[in-house]
Amino acid sequence: MTNATHGTPAVAERVGTLDAPRSPYVRKKTTRGNYELYSWVFMRASGVVLVVLVFGHLFVNLMVGDGVEAIDFAFVGGKWTNPFWQVWDLLMLWLAMIHGTNGLRTIINDYAERDVTRGVLKGLLYLAFTIVVVLGTLVIFTFEPCPAGADPELLASFCTA
C-alpha cells in the first residue's frame, strides 16, 4: 500500500540556515523596574500631543494666509520672536526626538541579535539624538531675526521699523 520510497535529502540546505540550533537561551538577569512602563505610556501620550503639534504647525505654515509662498527667512524670523511659537517648536522638537529615538531603541532591541551590534547601534542613535536636540534648542533660543548688515529686503518688517 505505501510507496516505500525512503526520502532522500531532497534539498541541500545552505550551512547555517538554522541559526545556532543549540545555543543556550537563558535570561541573563532580571531587569525589573518601571522604566519600560513609563516609556510605553510616554509613547502613547507624546503621540497624541504630536498629532496636534505637527498638524497645527503644518496648518499655520502651509495654509494660513499666503500659505507655502510666504515661507522665507523673514517668516521664520518673525515666528521665533514670538514666545508662543518658540515653546511650540521646542515642544515639537523634544517630543518628536524622544518619541522617535525611543521607537528606534525598541526596534534595535527587537532586531539586533548580538549585544555588541545592539550597543553600537544604540550609541549612534543617542549621539544623533543629542546633536539634533542640542543644535535645535540652541537655534530656537538664540535665533537672530535681524542680523546686522543684511539686505533689508530679506528681513522681517519689524527689523527696519
Binding site: 535570561r27 512602563l37 541579535e113
Partner: protein, 257 residues
C-alpha cells in the same frame, strides 16, 4: 423499479476508504553528525499514503515505524491535551496531533520543522527548559494571605469567568515560539508565561498579583509585546493570548498611576 447492483471495480470496492499520496518534508538535525559534515540541518522527504482521517502525527508515526526509525519527535497523549507535539507545519505552529493532513494542502509537500527560537536537541525535539524557566518565574501556583478558610475558597461563576480563557493553556510553546520578539534573543518572557500569570493575577482567590506584576514589569516582560498576534493565531487551544497580555499591561498601568 429494479435495483441494479453496480459492478464491483477492483480498485474501488465498496467499503474501501479512499486514500491519497502525500509528501512530507521534515527538517532533520542530528547533533552527532552535525559537527563532522558541517551541515547544521537538512530536509528529508518521505512519500506516504494517507487517509482523510490521518493527522500530521499519524504521518510522522508512519515514517518512524515504516521508513526511518531515526526520526525523532515528541508526543505523549496524541490527542491535543498534553502539548508535547507542537511543531512548525507549513510555516505555522500547530499541534501535529490536531492537524489533519487534508487541511494543510496534501497536493504540495508538507513541511515539518521544529518550533523556532528554542535550541534543537534532535530533529523535531527542542530543549523546552528556557520556556519552562520563564513559566516558573511567574510563580504558577496559588499564593494566599491570612488564615486558611475552614471549608473551601469560594468563588462566584463571574469571578471564575474572568480568567477562564487563560486556564486552557497546555504549555505546548506554540505561542512563545511563534513570537518574533522571542526569536531574536530568547530573553523575552514570552506569551505562555504571561498567559499563565494572567490566570492567577485575575483569580479572585489569589493574593500574589502584586508579586507577579512585579516579575513581569521587567524590560523583558510584557512591555516587549508588539501585539503582532502571532501567539493568538498559533494557540491550538484558541486562547486570546494577545488580549491576555494587554490585560496584564493594563493592570500594571492602573497599579502605577
Amino acid at each position: 423499479m429494479t435495483a441494479v447492483m453496480e459492478k464491483a471495480d477492483a480498485s474501488t470496492r465498496t467499503g474501501d476508504v479512499p486514500s491519497f499520496d502525500v509528501t512530507i518534508r521534515v527538517r532533520r538535525f542530528n547533533p552527532e553528525s552535525a559537527g563532522e559534515s558541517g551541515v547544521e540541518s537538512r530536509w528529508d522527504e518521505f512519500h506516504i499514503t494517507a487517509y482523510g482521517t490521518d493527522r500530521v502525527l499519524d504521518a510522522l508515526h508512519k515514517i518512524k515505524w515504516e521508513h526511518d526509525g531515526s526520526l525523532t519527535f515528541r508526543r505523549s497523549c496524541a490527542h491535543g491535551v498534553c502539548g508535547s507535539d507542537a511543531m512548525r507545519i507549513n510555516g505555522r505552529n500547530r499541534l501535529a496531533c490536531k492537524t489533519l493532513l487534508k487541511d494543510v494542502n496534501p497536493d504540495k509537500p508538507i513541511t515539518v520543522e521544529p518550533i523556532k527560537g528554542l535550541p534543537v536537541v534532535k530533529d523535531l525535539v527542542v530543549d523546552m527548559e528556557p520556556f519552562f524557566a520563564s513559566y516558573r518565574e511567574i510563580m504558577p501556583f496559588l499564593i494566599t494571605n491570612g488564615n486558611e478558610p475552614t471549608k473551601e475558597r469560594i468563588q462566584s461563576a463571574e469571578q471564575r469567568e474572568r480568567f477562564d480563557d487563560t486556564t486552557k493553556c497546555i504549555l505546548c510553546a506554540a505561542c512563545t515560539s511563534s513570537c518574533p520578539v522571542f526569536w531574536t534573543d530568547g530573553q523575552y518572557f514570552g506569551p505562555a508565561a504571561i498567559v499563565n500569570a494572567h490566570r492567577f493575577i485575575f483569580d479572585s482567590r489569589d493574593d500574589g498579583a502584586q508579586q507577579r506584576l512585579e516579575v513581569l514589569n521587567d524590560k523583558e516582560g510584557v512591555w516587549r509585546c508588539r501585539t503582532t498576534f502571532n501567539c493568538t493565531e498559533a494557540c491550538p487551544r484558541g486562547i486570546e493570548v494577545t488580549k491576555a497580555i494587554q490585560e496584564v499591561k493594563r493592570a500594571m498601568i492602573t497599579r502605577a498611576f
